[in-house]
């Protein structure tokens, strides 16, 4: 499996990674727009166009930079750190091709670490602004993150036990080789657990309400209240990329079919299209769940996340039992 990388050449790998990055940078905002659209349609509204987030980003990029005088360098660096960490994660994860650059290092623990460091950067920025809401948002986000990250790790562990490796390209490749795995209990359990984590990490209902403007109830929004202009654009881009990345990752871990495994450029293009289709299906499903439910009471969110954690543990144990 790993031997394949040598046959494919560094250049192609870099090309694949770049393609992934471009796909997610463009696709993430579009997915966000899609979610807004789906909700609007379900509520009987027309809603903004799907490309609205991209338009917003362009608008924000052309604005002037404004910093609160109470903020430090952390506040300025955090958006860049967020985008950079997600970008690295995107580049090394098999999304379009099974052989992205640095695929050997694409250990799932590395990816989890990258995602986590983006969250930490945002939380620090929320604290740095010194406002009541920023601190509140950071504390809530960290509480939720502290429960979501272990669930994410354990759910991934369940997958790596089944595949016999924690290397993401290998997990994806071996899933391709054993299609029967997707109906196994540990796959189903870790899929549900991962879905819960992704919903909470991307701040969707029922964990967080991305469309609310009520300061007191917000989680992820509250941390970024003080941002404006291009930096707000970066934060939004980072969040959109993270959303796109997480959904694409989940889609590929559980339904890897269509991913390019050779060096054929046509295969890459096909892989991109199929990846887009998979994530759209997944995102639609998640948004439909979000529409049919309401936001949980803040103190019930830990119940949901620990539930996800237990399911992940269950997946690991079932994996051990049925091996």
């Amino acid at each position: 499996m790993i031997a394949g990388i040598s046959t494919i050449g560094l250049g192609v790998s870099i090309g694949a990674s770049l393609l992934q990055l471009i796909a997610v940078v463009l696709g993430g905002p579009l997915l966000m727009g899609l979610m807004v659209k789906i909700r609007a349609r379900a509520e009987g509204r027309i809603g903004p166009p799907i490309r609205q987030p991209l338009l917003d980003l362009r608008k924000l990029a052309s604005k002037e930079r404004i910093h609160s005088e109470h903020t430090s360098v952390v506040f300025a660096v955090a958006p860049i750190a967020l985008v950079a960490s997600v970008a690295v994660a995107i580049a090394i994860t098999p999304l379009v091709s099974t052989f992205p650059v640095l695929g050997r290092s694409a250990d799932l623990f590395v990816v989890v670490f990258l995602i986590l460091s983006g969250s930490v950067a945002l939380a620090l920025a929320g604290l740095d602004s010194g406002t009541a809401f920023g601190g509140m948002g950071s504390s809530r986000a960290m509480t939720i993150g502290a429960l979501a990250e272990p669930a994410l790790l354990v759910a991934m562990l369940a997958l790596s036990i089944q595949a016999g490796s924690s290397n993401l390209p290998e997990i994806v490749s071996s899933t391709l080789a054993h299609p029967g795995w997707i109906a196994s209990p540990e796959r189903l359990l870790s899929f549900v657990a991962l879905l819960i984590v992704v919903i909470s990490e991307t701040g969707r209902i029922p964990v967080d309400n991305p469309s609310t403007h009520l300061e007191l109830t917000m989680v992820h929004e509250a941390m970024t209240l003080e941002y404006a202009g291009p930096e707000l654009g970066l934060v939004l881009l980072g969040q959109a990329m993270r959303l796109g990345f997480l959904f694409a990752l989940v889609a590929n871990l559980f339904f890897p079919w269509g991913i390019a495994s050779g060096s054929n450029p046509a295969g890459f293009l096909l892989g991109t299209v199929i990846l887009g289709a998979k994530t759209v299906v997944l995102v639609t499903g998640v948004e439909l769940i979000a529409i049919s439910t309401a936001k949980l009471r803040l103190f019930r969110v830990p119940e949901l996340l620990t539930g996800g954690f237990v399911l992940a543990v269950l997946a690991v144990v079932t994996g051990l039992v049925t091996r």
């Binding site: 196994s184 359990l189 830990p302 269950l314 039992v321």
Partner: protein, 219 residues
Amino acid sequence: MSGSSFSQMLELASGAVLVCAILTLWRSDLHAITSILSLQGVSLGVVAGALAAHTHDGALAATAAVVLVVKGSVIPMLIRQVVRRVPGGRETSPLINVPASLVGASFLIVLAYLASSKITALSSAAATRLAPIGVATVLVGFLVLVTRRKTVSQIIGLLLIDNGVALVAFLLTAGVPLVVELGVSLDVLLVVAVLRVLATSMGTVSGAFDLDKMQELHD
């Protein structure tokens, strides 16, 4: 039934039994919990049915039918009648909160896996390997029983334990002999019926569906 689809079916149905047990810890809406319990009974019946189909065992098929009827519909129906009388229909005051009990459950699941290593070592059959799932269900049932304060929740905890034992029995020994199994099912049914009557009269005598309100006896 082919070997691999048989074992996959067995895995899914057994997994469902345990997931249902986790869900009873997770949810506090008693109506929902009752439905989950019913689902668990059905999953248990499916386990027995799959085993019966695999081994062409008529007695086991009969057992599966009994389990489906008794645990899938009769017992949940009895419990639903008690739930209707609980004001609010919710488990409001568990001794430890839901996240903590869920984390506890994950420890119990690992514990069950470790504790069952001696059992799984004895046979390499597909079913035997799944025995820890049954043991874990028993332990989760214990957790429900110990931490929940509504009379109904305690009945549910008891049934979880019982379903877990039944799952172990099916997986390890393809069910105890039919006569014993019938006796066991009858006993469980009677216990639930008895508990239902007790819960109802406790509700009418002292208005207590909450065991915290019943603290007359202690040393």
